[in-house]
Subunit: 134 residues, 4 copies
């Protein structure tokens, strides 16, 4: 989303020594992953074999919510708190790893799980990359 | 976000007679507006004249949360409920109109408010357009 | 939650001519309904007959999220906007009515749906009551 | 909230060897803390000296959102994932510690910050206690 960079560019104060590219990439990945997971939960819910997808739906719901929250925390710069940024990034990385693995395990049967697994893996990597710069 | 269309394309059941383009456009606009509003609230918070921006911050927080919720409701198709879709779209349209007007009123002083006003107006229009197809 | 009244009591500015009792009751009902719906979605997901409960799960997820958002909007008083309060309360009333009806329709089979239907009906009424005072 | 225990009691499957009392207490604390933080952010926003409270508002917003998300994750039992539960509890504990310290530092000047600091400390402890049982 172009709007992420526009808002970073117009933040009135100094952003500190944050890696701007890694931050922007991570917010973008969180937003895309949240969208993929919300939609994947609903797609799984509409599958005839939904009874076999309940673990996936639960992972989707957790990951969607954690990614949205992480994207919001990363979009706030006032009163920056490195400990909190690290803690929520680690939770997000864990959620994406867990949901990505679950979706990948039946990605060959459900195209929506394949797309979601990709979004999870991209977001997990973006969290790892941003954590490395902190 | 490309992922919105990919998930709509791979939804396992029939999406009904929804206007697919209007739906995709509205989810996209909700996501961008939520991001712009979350970031604008924080940018306002860091302005030296924050005391004059408290109404804007409050509008931003409401609009961000309502847009996120609307984007999530619109991403669920299982057990579609036209009444609920209409009600949340109307709330989203109201939030975007309110926040867009507020941001626009001091957009000449704060570049982040100008970007946010644009995102609000785009999202308000996308809600109106989707409502017209229901 | 006691904390709702404590925070209303210590708000630094005048709350305006809002009906304080109706406001407190509605925030409380939104929080309880959000909790009931989040838990009911997960309980339905773990039922053997989950395939017959997909509409209920979707209603639960929408209602949980809209109740949380409504509780948050109602907890903000700075820059009060009656139009927005009305619009989100109407969306919340619609979500609670829809989810309450769905849960009530199989409340005799699932105790968690009965508890959730009660929470939805209480929240729907609290929205109606608060709307009547605006 | 009574509804938390009612929903735990009626969950259709076995909850595993989770410490039910610690779980219920932690969900309750997350809900109360989220409410306190959402209201405290808005109360700070309405203080005349808002310019000196921007760090507190930011902490409030992060903590409110992380507590809501943690309460939701803890309310889902289907496909339980200990790693994710631990990660989000650690993030919640960090957010509550950070926000509680910030609020406590000016609790003598703002009654709402005192109430919020109490809610944060209670929630931080509930996270620690639940983590100890996992």
């Amino acid at each position: 989303m172009h709007v992420i960079d526009q808002m970073l560019d117009t933040y009135p104060k100094d952003l500190g020594d944050v890696d701007r590219a890694a931050l922007s990439k991570c917010i973008t990945a969180c937003r895309e992953c949240a969208q993929a997971c919300a939609a994947c939960a609903d797609a799984c819910l509409s599958e005839d074999m939904v009874a076999e997808l309940t673990k996936c739906i639960r992972s989707n719901l957790d990951c969607a919510e954690i990614c949205t929250t992480t994207g919001d925390v990363l979009s706030r710069h006032t009163g920056y708190d490195a400990n909190l940024t690290r803690a929520i990034l680690e939770a997000c990385q864990t959620a994406c790893k867990s949901c990505g693995d679950e979706c990948a395990s039946h990605a060959d049967m459900h195209e929506h799980c394949k797309i979601c697994a990709d979004a999870c893996q991209k977001c997990e990597q973006a969290c790892v990359d941003l954590l490395a710069t902190l």
